[in-house]
Symmetry: C2
Subunit: 218 residues, 2 copies
Amino acid sequence: MSSIILTFSGGIDSTILLWHLRERGDTVRCLSVNYGQRHIRELTAAEEIAKLAGCEHRIIDLSNLRPLLSGSSQTSDEVEVPEGHYAAESMKLTVVPNRNMILLAVAGAWAVSTKSEAVAYAAHAGDHAIYPDCREEFASVIGQVLELCDWHPIQLWRPFIRWSKADIVKEGERLNVPFGLTWSCYKGGSLHCGKCGTCTERQEAFTAADVADPTVYQ
Amino acid sequence: MSSIILTFSGGIDSTILLWHLRERGDTVRCLSVNYGQRHIRELTAAEEIAKLAGCEHRIIDLSNLRPLLSGSSQTSDEVEVPEGHYAAESMKLTVVPNRNMILLAVAGAWAVSTKSEAVAYAAHAGDHAIYPDCREEFASVIGQVLELCDWHPIQLWRPFIRWSKADIVKEGERLNVPFGLTWSCYKGGSLHCGKCGTCTERQEAFTAADVADPTVYQ
């Protein structure tokens, strides 16, 4: 039983990770960040889910960073969200500059002030090489930074790092995760678009896991 | 000649570093952060100095992080700013949880979006062991994170790391830095208090450097 800060988007991966940690008996604090992302809808999902889980949840508004984060479709109205498969070159537009370092730094701050043992996030084996800050080497040195950022070492936990997204969905089914409350779509409409990279990946994961997908796609 | 993001507090160290980099011909963008610190006065100083230097300057308001940063005198009204020498145990109260990782992550984001070669900051040999995120090992792994956070590696520059604060003040004199515009005091009054850790250190540095200190102390 540990005290954990979970970076929590309200998507399927981090929601399943929340259920996974609760089953272990960990005390989980959920951190969501508004960094001016187009798909602000995910924060409403995060709020509902954390409430259902009975966890402390903080949404930190970092949209003031927006002037520094130019050039990404997720933080700029001038850049269209690309459709199609994640592997495509066009998905590079969805990269938010240095997002993971910022997110994990903020999670680290909360871990320092709550004397938590670890920061957890739902990185998985299917994370894509188009994101420089999803690389294994990146996570490894971030882990070292968190160990040194305070006098009590904070660990970086990535329990799903060897799992496929389908494996994660199977774990979610075992844990009775309320899939219907989670949000993935990058476009930020009232329904999942079914066409952007995250929607494509979400659909494929349910299919590969042979789990019923309750999501309503547009 | 490089393009550099400088973390810029408006204090003497980062101001002298700005002049030092300008002399080399680097293009410097100055980043200041409002993280809800008590000594908000330093941001006005930073603004004036960057203007005088003719540099692009952004002040990013991260005071939304305040609920996560409990327990520091610099971000909480309930904790008094300790007086006396930095070396004292009481100075631990001035530690803002994970501040340097957050600051360097935000600087890194701006470096990614402006395709800058480096992030610079004015760490020096006198930085204190009471701050876990001033440790050499910490800076070393942060440097590795910045190299990996984008497809173009970003360097971490700490040109003053082997200098004492007195050495830095001497460099400032050589470069005609407007010392009187800089701000150090942690208390945030209209004049430097002359008693807190940073004021004490500031006075000692001018004395040790044998440079006239134009600061008016209360």
